[in-house]
Amino acid sequence: MIEAILAGLTALLTPQALLFMLIGVVYGLVIGILPGLGGVVAMALLLPFTYGFETAATLALLLGAHIATIWGDSVTSILFSVPGSAKGLALCFDGYPMTKKGQAKRALAASATGALLGGIIGAIFLALCIPLIRPVILALGPSEYLMMALWGLTVIATFSEGSLMKGLTASVLGVLVAFIGMDVVTATPRFTFGSEFLMDGISFPVAMIGLFAVSEMMKLAIKGTPIVDRSLVKEESTVWQGVQDAFRHWWLVARSSLLGLWIGVLPGVGASVAGLAAYAQAVQTSKTPERFGKGAVEGVIAPDATMGANEGGGLMPTLAFGIPGGESMAILLVAFIGLGVVPGPDMLTKNLDLVFSMVWIIVIANIAVTVIGLGITPWLARLPSLQANLMVPIVLAVCFVGAYATRGHIEDVVVAAVFGIVGYLMDKYHYSRANFVIGMVLAVMIERNLHISLTLYGRDFLLERPIALAMLLFVLVTAALPFVRNWRRKRRQAAGAAAP
């Protein structure tokens, strides 16, 4: 094993592999920052350039780009409350308030360092767990994935922005919007009104561009002042503070990383769920949850650590079984075919050095992203103080081009505009946009796994699947716990007030 670890590292220490990784990281950062374009697009666009080069160099290019998009996504979420993709959504909740409080540098640095630590923890656990994870993955089926999605739904209560009814309504709307298009199970066109364009469904990145970017620019145009008015709020934080924060909250980083690793291992769950789940566990386990949503640095560190570790986890089923952990891993599988690499049990025996090359790529690419990220943070932190009249047309133009570029359909521009107006109205009347997006993310996963569970195990599938039943109990307990705590606290307060 030691030999494989060293061979994996040696394969990366060629000029071609190092150059490819650097190109991938810089390219990934740019793509991540652009609205609508995430890791999947970054990797897909690189595929044609991957043939005919060293295997390690090709993987360094692809994985380096993919890893860099994670922090790129976080940047726009923190600075403008505009997530580049669904993964960055959880960063809006506390990253953006930190920016508004004049702590953009701290937030960006904490985000980069959290992602680095998460990435390293994920890579280490990937290396250690490869032989152990096979029976675990095989023990889980659609019923268990359904429970994972339901756990994601419990996050909704956290982001209701006041009224729980409105929060739930927003998530119901999100779920229903996600059902537009061809039903994945029965192939029935739903809510398409005969439109060919709608058969493909509403593109998730386009909806995000509209709900967050376009609506935020509408708000900014109406307000007429910068996101951060430097005459009122001075940028007083430093990059070093953010780095220290990530190390100070090491236990949160460790927990979030393991969560990210675990979610990454589960095929089809995805980093967007991981980020939201990490944020929810950070709130639920915090001694001072009242700081969340108002600029708590833990709300930035937890999702980034999770998403950093998620990549390591996602590699496990991809390498061990050829089952992609997510869309980006599916693209990696395509690259494997081009390189003549066959995923499966052989990867863990004959091609172990290649597996460790990927582990090293995750570590080195994360370090490169963090070094570059920390270096450019002081400049990035100035962006929110740009004048509204400069920001609005530029961001809107980029958003509309980005919406079109997502799938090359001009109708997507209309979708972005419509969702922009819907997002503005939702924000105005306090219907949580975050809940809407969470509903959209989880809808298809819930529906698909429910149908498969019913088909495989019948109506009493929970009784047939004890792990799923245990997970359901866990979901119910974690969802109910805060309410029980609150009830107890109120009872204690009432008893204290009644006492003479």
Binding site: V30, L34, V41, A157, T158, S163, L164, M165, K166, G167, L168, T169, V172, L173, V175, L176, F179, V185, T186, T188, R190, F191, M218, K219, A221, I222, T225, D229, L232, V233, V283, P289, E290, F292, G293, K294, N389, V392, L396, A397, F400, V401, Y404, A405, I410, V413, A417, I421, Y424, L425, Y429, Y431, A443, I446, L450, H451, P482, R485, N486, R489
Partner: protein, 169 residues
């Protein structure tokens, strides 16, 4: 005619009810499996909206203010951020924002994505008097060229040329 915030909330709820009712009607055309989740969900949406409406009109607004964060920490301290005086969005401002989106959309359809980016940014800078018309054109041109290089040249996006393109061919 000025509509109060209270009435606006009711209008929003009525629109939501209409949306959920529409979903229920459309679901009747689907098979049992295809409507297994959307149909009960739409009914749930109606129930939620009705509760929201009832609470909004007949109950205490404070009773609705509940989420997990507030449940875990009932006494939320005031925000520490020094904030600018809160200014309610004016009707004119909102109308201008909607108009801005409509103009950009119309330009995109008429002229294509890249020319629309140029025309919109240049026009916005000029209308808001952010800078002189010459500088506006320069800034817009720099942005458009950057977008073109990034999306069309580097990312190989096939640009949409717009409905007016045949006139110029």
């Amino acid at each position: 005619m000025k509509i109060s915030r209270h009435a606006q909330e009711n209008v929003a709820s009525v629109l939501l009810l209409a949306f959920f009712a529409g979903v229920i009607v459309l679901c009747q055309d689907f098979g049992p499996r295809a409507r297994m989740i959307p149909l009960p969900l739409a009914v749930f949406g109606i129930v939620l909206t009705l509760i929201q409406m009832a609470w909004h009109n007949f109950g205490s607004p404070e009773e609705l203010q509940m989420d997990m964060i507030s449940v875990q920490a009932p006494t939320i301290p005031a925000a520490e951020t020094p904030a600018a005086p809160v200014k309610k969005p004016s009707r004119q401002g909102e109308a201008a924002a909607y108009g801005m989106i409509a103009v950009l959309l119309a330009l995109t359809f008429a002229a294509g994505v890249m020319p629309a980016a140029f025309l919109f940014t240049a026009g916005y800078f000029m209308v808001t008097r952010y800078c002189s018309w010459r500088l506006s054109l320069v800034y817009a041109a720099v942005l458009t060229v950057s977008l073109y290089l990034l999306f069309v040249v580097a990312l190989q996006m096939q640009p949409y040329h717009g409905l007016l393109a045949p006139l110029f061919q």
